[in-house]
Amino acid sequence: MGGGGVRYDCEVTAIGEMADEFFAAGIVVLFGQGVPEELADFAVVHRPSVTDGGLQPGDRIHLGATEVVTVLAVGEVADENLVNLGHLSLKRNGESEAALPGDVCCDEGPIPELRVGDRIRIVAAS
């Protein structure tokens, strides 16, 4: 994929009741629509428009209009989860190696207050 390409683009359709607890821990869990209810409870559920995937360190993830995080490490099953299920475990933990196979580790910082209608985009480093 060429530099600056969009790897994933989606619009938030629902935010689970328990998602805040994950945000407070610096974690955002994404799932596509059709996710079982018990998982939707703590997830950011969304409708994707681009699902090309190909996640790599250096990619930038736009969380809503203002917050941009940089990907530092990508677990071995993270890209497969994203493309197949719209599932991503984004962790703003500053780690340069993924401790768990589903992790997408990003630079440290806050998780913004996401709302229904916000866009989440993953863009390749240019």
Partner: protein, 123 residues
């Protein structure tokens, strides 16, 4: 009344937890597969050996109180904790150990990981 059999499910290479014994019942007949992309071979084998019903939980809804067990392919944060939290025996096909905000729910008596079809045996 249906006749169900038990299986014993052990951790695979690099896996954690278990072994778990899973026996479907008339109240909990469902081998829920929460992996996307259809029925995972591990879920199919559990269903074949027990007489339970393999079910793709991404295709349609199944209540967790109908699940004999949940088969997941979680990379370690979300699905890995939710089903144990709900009291559903959970089988992760990836070799994941307890971690994340839900880690306190993940116990070796209700969770086993790194599971391949060969790790599912008649009990």
């Amino acid at each position: 009344m249906s006749e169900y059999k038990s299986v014993q499910i052990s951790a695979g290479s690099g896996g954690w937890g278990g072994p778990l014994t899973v026996t479907p019942t008339d109240d909990k007949p469902i081998i829920a597969c929460i992996t996307g992309g259809g029925i995972h071979p591990v879920a199919q084998r559990i269903a074949d050996l027990t007489g339970g019903e393999a079910f793709d939980a991404f295709k349609s809804t199944v209540k967790f109180d109908r699940m004999a067990c949940a088969v997941i392919d979680c990379g370690g944060t979300a699905r890995v904790g939710v089903y144990p939290m709900k009291g559903v025996p959970t089988i992760d096909v990836h070799p994941t150990s307890p971690a994340g905000p839900l880690a306190m729910h993940i116990k070796e008596t209700i969770f086993v990981s790194g599971v391949k079809p060969d790790n599912v045996e008649e009990a």
